[in-house]
C-alpha cells in the first residue's frame, strides 16, 4: 500500500488525471447549470444535507459537557472540536426529528464566531448534484418560521433491481438558518 502511494507518477498517470479533471468541468457545464456539492447525512430516519462549503468540519464524536443552567432539549453543551470549545446543538430536536440510535459524527456549521456543531447518525458523503435535481421545499416548510430547508434533493436510488428504482428526497438545509434555530435555544 505504502509503495503504491509512494510510487512516482508516470506521464500516463498525469495525463489520465488531467483528463479526469477536465471531465468534471465538462460535466458541470452540461445539463441544468452548475454542479453543487452537498454533504448528505442522516439524523434518525431523515436524510438531510448541507452545502459542502457550509459544513465547516466533519469530525468523530467527542464528549459533550453539559452547561449548567443552559443545557436543554436543543442546546446540548460544549465539545472540544479541533481545539475549539464548540457549542453543540441537537438539530434533530430543533427540527422535530425523532432521534437516531447512535450518532457517529459532529458536523460543524455556521460563520466564524457563531459556529454550531450537531451530531449526525451517519455521514453518507459529499454528493455532486445538478441544480435541476434540486426542487424548492413545499410551501408548508418554506413559510414556517422555523423552516431552514433550502431545497429538496431528488434522488433516484436503485433499490435492489432494475424496475424497483425509487425516488427519494433529501432535505438540503440552509446552514445559517439552521444555526439561527439552534441559537434560539440559548437566547
Amino acid at each position: 500500500m505504502r509503495r503504491l502511494l509512494d510510487r512516482p507518477l508516470t506521464q500516463a498517470d498525469l495525463e489520465e488525471n488531467t483528463a479526469n479533471l477536465a471531465l468534471v468541468t465538462d460535466e458541470s457545464r452540461a445539463g441544468d447549470g452548475m454542479l453543487e456539492s452537498v454533504l448528505v447525512f442522516r439524523i434518525g430516519a431523515e436524510r438531510l444535507a448541507v452545502h459542502a462549503d457550509e459544513a465547516h468540519r466533519v469530525v468523530p464524536l467527542s464528549p459533550v459537557r453539559r452547561v449548567p443552567h443552559r443545557t436543554g432539549d436543543v442546546f446540548a453543551g460544549l465539545a472540544n472540536i479541533g481545539g475549539e470549545l464548540t457549542l453543540v446543538g441537537n438539530l434533530g430536536a430543533a427540527l422535530g426529528i425523532a432521534p437516531g440510535a447512535k450518532p457517529t459524527h459532529f458536523i460543524v456549521i455556521g460563520n466564524a464566531g457563531a459556529r454550531w456543531a450537531f451530531a449526525a447518525d451517519a455521514i453518507e458523503g459529499v454528493r455532486r448534484v445538478r441544480a435541476g435535481d434540486l426542487v424548492p421545499p413545499p410551501t408548508t416548510v418554506r413559510h414556517a418560521a422555523d423552516g431552514c430547508a433550502r431545497c429538496l434533493l431528488r434522488e433516484t436510488r436503485d433499490a435492489g433491481g432494475g424496475d424497483n428504482a425509487r425516488e427519494s428526497l433529501v432535505t438540503v438545509l440552509d446552514g445559517l438558518k439552521a444555526c439561527a434555530i439552534l441559537a434560539r435555544s440559548i437566547a
Partner: protein
C-alpha cells in the same frame, strides 16, 4: 493605559492621530492653494478627531494643540479669519507636532510631552492670537508661497519659522538631541518644569533633558520587537498549540502499538524454538525452520529500529509542541510598564494640587505580567498612589522639619517572587499612626474599644480596606471620592491574590499586592458532578474533606458535618465548626446527587463563618487548566466563570466560586435550599446587544470594552449611516452614538432611528465632546435618551447611565 483587546489604547491613538495628521497636512497645503473655506470642513473634523482620541487617553498636550487648531480652522470656515499663509504655516507646524507625537511610544510620551511642551504652547498661543497684522491673502503671502504650495511635503518646507516665534526650536524637532534641551532653556518659567518635579523612573534625579535623550536610544529595539496581534488571534493560536500538544501525546498510542508487535514477535520466536525442539525430538531436521527464524529475526530488528525512530519522533514532537504551547501562553504576558505609563502624570498632577513634592520611581518595568491582570491594575495602582500622596507623604516643610529630604520618594515596584507577582507601592512619608487608627475604628463604631484594644498591627490595618474607611481628616477631591483602598483589596481578591499594608510611623508605608502571575493558567481541583467534570480553582477552595456518611448529621433539617478546625489553626482552641452541606448537582441544576459511596466528597468554599460544603460525586484530581472564556453567546452562565480543555482533550467547566456561594446564601435565606433543586436561575437569559457608533477607533474601543465588561455583546459602526444599516439588521438593546461623524452625524442618526417605529423606545445614549447646554438640548431633542460628555468614561457616569437605561442583570443572570 491598560491593554485592551490586543492593542493598547495608545496604539489605537497613534494609528488615528497618524491618519488624521496626514489628512491635515495634505488638506492644509491644498487649502492654501485654493483659499476655499468649503475645504476647511474635513480639516476641522480631523483636528476634532485627534482632540477626542487624545482626550480619551488623557494626552493633554495633544488635546491642547488639536483644540487650538480646530478653533483656528473654525474661524477660517466661518470667515472670521482670512486664510493666510502664516496661519497655514502655524497649522502645519501643529500638524507636524501631532504627527511626531503619533510616532512616540507610550512609554516615551511623558518625556516627549515635557520636551515639546514649550513648542506646543507657542503654537497654541500663536493660533489663539489674531492673525499677524498686515497679513495678506495667500497668493501674495511673503512666506515663499512657492515652497508651501509646491509638492514638497510641508514638514520639509518650514518657510518662515521666525513668524511662529519661540515655538521654532521645539517644532523643528525630530532631532532628538536638540528637542530635550532647547525648550527647557527657551522657556524655563513655562510648564515644562513639571518634569523636574516628577522625573520619570529610570533617570530619577537627572534633569529632564537627559531623560528625553536617554529615552531615545532605548526605544528602537522595543519598537522593532512589538507586533500587533489581536487577542482573538492569540487565543486561537493558543487553542491550536494546545491541540498540537494533545495530538503529539496521542502518538504515544502508536508507540504502544509498536511495542506490542515487538512482544508478539518475541512470542513467535519462542514458539519457533519450541517447534525446533519438537522436530528434533521427532527425529526431523530442525534446520527446516531456519528460514522462518531468519525472517523473524529480520522483522524483529526492523520493528526495533522502527520503534526507535517512532520513539524519537514522538519525543521531539512532544517537546516542540509543549514548547510551542508555553511560548504562545507566555505571549499573553506584557511588560509591567504597560500599567505604569500614566502614573508619572498622576503623581505630577496630585503633588502639584496638594502642594507636595515627590518623585516617582518605577522598578521592574520589564517584568512580564499577564495581560488580563495588567488590565485590572490601573485602578488599584492609582488608588495606592493617590493614598500615598494625599495621606502618606508630608509637605516639604513638614519633611524638612522631620529631617527628611523635602522631596518624597514614591516607589512602584513589580517582581516575580515565589511563583507570584508582587507589586509594592511604597512611600517615605509619615506612616500610619496605629493608635489614631485604633481610635478611629472605635469612633466609627466598627469595633468596641475593648476589642479594638486587642487588635494587632495587621488587624488594625485591615480596616483601611473597608469601603468608606479613610484616615484622612478631611475628604479631599483626590482621595476621598467614595471609592478608595477597598478597590485595591477587592481587585486583588477578584484576581485571586491578596493585598497587605506595612507601615512604620514616621518612616513610611508600603502597600503590597500578591497576585497570581497569570490568569490564563489556573491550578484547579477537578470533581465529578452528575457525570460532568467541573473544576474549582484551587486558590478559592478552603479545603476538601471526605467525612464518613455517618459523620454527616441533620440539624434543623439540613445536612451538616463538624469540621474540626483546631489542628488547622482556625477559631478558638477546642472549637469545631458546623459546615452546612449543599449538593453541588442541585445548585448547578445538573441532577440529583449520588449517595452510594461510604464517604462523602465535600469541597469547602468560603471563609471564616461563611463556609459551605459542596457535596460532589467524586474527586478527580488536580490539574493545571488553561482558562478560556465561555462562548459569549451563552451570556453570563450562573455559577461558571470559564471553561478549559483538559490535557486529555476533554472539556471542563470552571466554577465561579463567589457566584455559587452567593446563590447558596440567597437560597438559604429564602429557605429554598432544601427539597428539590433550588430554583436559582430561570435560565431564560440572553446576552444584551449594544451598538456603538463613533468615528474614532479609540472611543469605539473604550466604549466597547466598557460595555463588554458590563456583559453586553457589542457591535460597532463608524458613522451614522453605518450605524443605521446595522441597527436595521439586528436586534439591539442599546445604542451609544457620537455626534460629530462624517456621512450621517449623530443628530441625524438619532432622528432617523426615532422616526422608525421599531426603535421608538430603544435607549440611545449620545456621548459627545460637545458639552454646551445647547448641544445637549439638540441631542435630547433629536431623541437621545441620555446625553453624556466623553469625560463620562473617567468615572462611572457612563456605566451608571447604561445600567439605569438597560438592566444588564436581565441578561447577566446569576446574581440578583
Amino acid at each position: 493605559m491598560s491593554d485592551l483587546g490586543g492593542f493598547s489604547l495608545h496604539e489605537l491613538f497613534k494609528g488615528e492621530a497618524e491618519m488624521h495628521a496626514a489628512a491635515l497636512s495634505d488638506g492644509l497645503v491644498r487649502l492654501e492653494g485654493t483659499s476655499d473655506p468649503a475645504t476647511v470642513e474635513p480639516l476641522m473634523r480631523a483636528a476634532h478627531s485627534i482632540k477626542g482620541a487624545a482626550r480619551v487617553i488623557g494626552l493633554d498636550i495633544a488635546v491642547r494643540l488639536a483644540h487650538a487648531m480646530e478653533d483656528s480652522l473654525v474661524a477660517m470656515q466661518k470667515g472670521r479669519e482670512p486664510i493666510v499663509a502664516v496661519r497655514i504655516d502655524q497649522l502645519l507646524k501643529g500638524t507636524d507636532l501631532l504627527a511626531a507625537l503619533a510616532r512616540v511610544e507610550e512609554a516615551e510620551v511623558p518625556s516627549w510631552s515635557a520636551a515639546n511642551d514649550a513648542a506646543v504652547s507657542a503654537i497654541v498661543e500663536a493660533l489663539r492670537a489674531a492673525p499677524p497684522t498686515g497679513a495678506v491673502a495667500p497668493s501674495s503671502a511673503p512666506a515663499s508661497p512657492s515652497a508651501s504650495s509646491s509638492a514638497s511635503p510641508p514638514a520639509a518646507a518650514p518657510p518662515d519659522s521666525a513668524s511662529v516665534g519661540a515655538a521654532a526650536p521645539g517644532i523643528t524637532e525630530n532631532a532628538p538631541d536638540a528637542s530635550g534641551v532647547e525648550p527647557e532653556e527657551q522657556a524655563p518659567s513655562d510648564t515644562a518644569s513639571p518634569a523636574t518635579t516628577v522625573p520619570v523612573a529610570p533617570a530619577a534625579a537627572a534633569p529632564p533633558a537627559t531623560i528625553a535623550s536617554a529615552a531615545t536610544p532605548a526605544t528602537p529595539s522595543s519598537r522593532a520587537s512589538a507586533v500587533r496581534v489581536s487577542a482573538e488571534k492569540l487565543d486561537r493560536l493558543l487553542q491550536l498549540a494546545g491541540e498540537t500538544m494533545l495530538e503529539s501525546r496521542r502518538l504515544s498510542a502508536v508507540r504502544a502499538e509498536a511495542t506490542e508487535i515487538k512482544q508478539d514477535l518475541a512470542r513467535l520466536e519462542d514458539e519457533l524454538d519450541l517447534l525446533r525442539t519438537e522436530l528434533r525430538r521427532a527425529g526431523r531436521d530442525p534446520a527446516a525452520i531456519a528460514p522462518a527464524r531468519g525472517i523473524l529475526e529480520r522483522s524483529r530488528g526492523r520493528v526495533l529500529a522502527h520503534l526507535l525512530t517512532v520513539e524519537g519522533a514522538i519525543r521531539r514532537g512532544e517537546e516542540t509542541s509543549t514548547q510551542l504551547y508555553h511560548e504562545v501562553l507566555s505571549s499573553r504576558m506584557r511588560p509591567f510598564a504597560d500599567a505604569t505609563g500614566a502614573l508619572p502624570r498622576t503623581v505630577r498632577d496630585l503633588t502639584r494640587a496638594l502642594g507636595k513634592d515627590a518623585r516617582l520611581e518605577v522598578v521592574g518595568e520589564s517584568v512580564p505580567v499577564d495581560r488580563d491582570i495588567l488590565a485590572r491594575l490601573d485602578a488599584p495602582l492609582n488608588h495606592m498612589l493617590r493614598n500615598a500622596i494625599d495621606h502618606g507623604i508630608e509637605t516639604p516643610e513638614e519633611r524638612r522639619a522631620a529631617g527628611k529630604p523635602p522631596q518624597a520618594t514614591l516607589r512602584v515596584e513589580a517582581r516575580h517572587h515565589a511563583g507570584q507577582l508582587r507589586i509594592r507601592v511604597s512611600d517615605d512619608g509619615r506612616g500610619i499612626d496605629l493608635e489614631a487608627l485604633r481610635a478611629r475604628i472605635v469612633r466609627k463604631q466598627l469595633a468596641s474599644s475593648d476589642m479594638a484594644a486587642g487588635l494587632d498591627c495587621q488587624e488594625l490595618l485591615e480596616f483601611l480596606f473597608l469601603p468608606g474607611f479613610s484616615t484622612a481628616q478631611k475628604v479631599t477631591e483626590y482621595s476621598g471620592r467614595g471609592v478608595g483602598l477597598d478597590v485595591v483589596q477587592s481587585t486583588a481578591r477578584e484576581i485571586g491574590g491578596v493585598a497587605r499594608i506595612h507601615t512604620e510611623l514616621g518612616k513610611g508605608t508600603v502597600f503590597e499586592l500578591e497576585l497570581p502571575i497569570t490568569l490564563s493558567v489556573i491550578r484547579a481541583l477537578l470533581v465529578e458532578v452528575c457525570g460532568e467534570t467541573l473544576a474549582f480553582p484551587l486558590a478559592r477552595i478552603d479545603r476538601v474533606v471526605q467525612p464518613e456518611r455517618d459523620a454527616i448529621a441533620t440539624v434543623a433539617g439540613r445536612m451538616q458535618f463538624l469540621l474540626d478546625d483546631v489542628k488547622l489553626g482556625y477559631a478558638d482552641a477546642g472549637a469545631a465548626t458546623s459546615i452546612g452541606i449543599v449538593e453541588a448537582g442541585r445548585v448547578l441544576a445538573l441532577g440529583e446527587p449520588r449517595a452510594d459511596a461510604a464517604r462523602a466528597n465535600i469541597v469547602v468554599l468560603g471563609s471564616g463563618e461563611e463556609r459551605y460544603g459542596f457535596a460532589v460525586d467524586a474527586l478527580v484530581g488536580e490539574e493545571d487548566l488553561v482558562v478560556r472564556a465561555l462562548d459569549a453567546r451563552l451570556g453570563k452562565v450562573p455559577h461558571l466563570s470559564a471553561a478549559a480543555v483538559r490535557e486529555s482533550g476533554e472539556p471542563v467547566l470552571i466554577v465561579d466560586t463567589e457566584d455559587i456561594l452567593q446563590s447558596v446564601r440567597m437560597a438559604l435565606n429564602e429557605g429554598r435550599i432544601r427539597g428539590a433543586r433550588p430554583a436559582l436561575d430561570d435560565g431564560s437569559r440572553r446576552v444584551l446587544r449594544a451598538l456603538v457608533v463613533d468615528d474614532s477607533a479609540t472611543v469605539r474601543e473604550v466604549e466597547r470594552q466598557l460595555l463588554v465588561r458590563m456583559g453586553f455583546s457589542v457591535e460597532t459602526a463608524v458613522d451614522g449611516l453605518d450605524g443605521w444599516h446595522q441597527l436595521r439588521d439586528g436586534a439591539f438593546d442599546l445604542v451609544v452614538s457620537d455626534i460629530d461623524m462624517p456621512r450621517m452625524n449623530g443628530i441625524e442618526f438619532v432622528r432617523t432611528l426615532r422616526a422608525d417605529g421599531r426603535f421608538a423606545s430603544l435607549p440611545v445614549i449620545v456621548v459627545s465632546y460637545k458639552d454646551r447646554e445647547e448641544d445637549r438640548l439638540a441631542g435630547l431633542e433629536a431623541g437621545a435618551t441620555a446625553y453624556l460628555t466623553k469625560g463620562a468614561f473617567q468615572d462611572s457616569t457612563f456605566a451608571d447611565t447604561v445600567r439605569d437605561l438597560v438592566d444588564p442583570s436581565r441578561g447577566a443572570g446569576g446574581r440578583a
